[in-house]
Amino acid sequence: MSTARRTGWVLAGLAIAVVVVVAAAFFASGDPDGLERVAENLGFGDAAEGSPFSIIADYVVPGLDGPLATVVAGVVGVVVLFVLLWLVGKALARRPGER
């Protein structure tokens, strides 16, 4: 596996993640999910407490409207998680020849 092809696969993987984000922003079901449905049906949905702070709450970037707000939120999440796990992986991984 050449470095170029490996890099290409990483970029393709991230591109797929962004495509999923865009699809989610336009087509994701707005219905309550499994836990929310059960919480509503069983009457404990009101037990939910709000967060003490708000950054990109509900995957909506403050100041943006509609699907764009969610697309940008999702791309932020994709980049943050890719970089975070890259750093964690780099910190933890064995170098070749080690062990």
């Binding site: 596996m1 696969w9 990483v10 393709a12 993987g13 991230l14 797929i16 993640a17 999923v20 699809a23 989610a24 922003a25 994701a28 079901s29 707005g30 219905d31 309550p32 999910d33 499994g34 836990l35 929310e36 449905r37 059960v38 049906n41 069983l42 037990a47 939910a48 407490e49 709000g50 967060s51 003490p52 950054i55 990109i56 709450a57 509900d58 995957y59 909506v60 699907p67 969610t70 999702g74 932020v76 999440g77 994709v78 980049v79 943050v80 998680l81 890719f82 970089v83 975070l84 796990l85 890259w86 964690v88 992986g89 780099k90 933890l92 991984a93 064995r94 170098r95 070749p96 062990r99």
Partner: protein
């Protein structure tokens, strides 16, 4: 509730403080082991895959698919992560996804984050993954049995996570266990079908484009 997407994970208040704290203790213990085991075994070539899997699972969790009766579900991804990265690195990926969702997107409470990581991550990466390995073995090895074994394990991870969540809700006294258990298991039995389909779709895609990635995990000492 505003916005196109609902918060998807348990908010604070759904679990009692003792249950939430107990789950944080369990999850923190698992994470310490996961860091140590990953440190001992992670192949450097797997690092980019770690990042891509975290990014993809985050994105996929945003995509709520309809199931039945005005209810939706979304991928968890624990079995997918564990099949590719091994159970310990997979656990770190799932914990990171849930942590970023809670901290950055206010999706899932902070006090209940330990429970959310356990229910949506650890149940799949450590629990259902064991089932995956056993089933793949029965089917003649991972090369042949990967997709069916992953499909079953993915479904079990979702239903198992729902059952564990119901137990936590019941112990918390938020809702009676005898009501919560069938309700959570029932709806997640349907959501688990989506989990199975997305999991084998992703694995089939990787098998078609980068089958060598499957050998990365086995190259690592157990």
């Amino acid at each position: 509730m505003s916005g196109l997407l609902h918060p998807l994970h348990a908010p604070d208040g759904f679990l009692s403080v003792p249950v939430a704290v107990a789950m944080w203790v369990v999850t923190a213990g698992v994470l310490v082991i996961a860091v140590r085991r990953t440190n001992a075994s992670l192949d450097e070539r797997a690092v980019p895959l770690l990042g891509v899997m975290a990014a993809f699972i985050f994105a996929a969790q945003m995509f709520n698919f309809p199931v039945i009766g005005g209810t939706s579900g979304h991928l968890l991804g624990g079995v997918l992560a564990a099949v590719l990265l091994g159970p310990w690195a997979g656990t770190l990926v799932m914990a990171s996804v849930v942590a970023v969702q809670g901290l950055l997107f206010q999706d899932g409470g902070l006090l209940v984050m330990g429970a959310n990581i356990f229910n949506m991550g650890v149940v799949g990466t450590l629990g259902a993954y064991v089932l995956y390995r056993a089933l793949a073995g029965l089917l003649g090895g991972e090369a042949r049995g990967r997709l069916p074994a992953a499909a079953v394990a993915a479904w079990v991870a979702v239903v198992g996570g729902a059952v564990v969540t119901a137990l936590q809700l019941g112990i918390s006294g938020v809702t009676p266990l005898e009501v919560a258990l069938p309700a959570m298991a029932g709806v997640h039995a349907l959501i688990g079908i989506g989990e199975a389909l997305i999991t084998i779709g992703a694995l089939a895609f990787i098998g078609a484009t980068r089958a060598d990635l499957f050998r990365l995990r086995d190259a690592q000492p157990a």
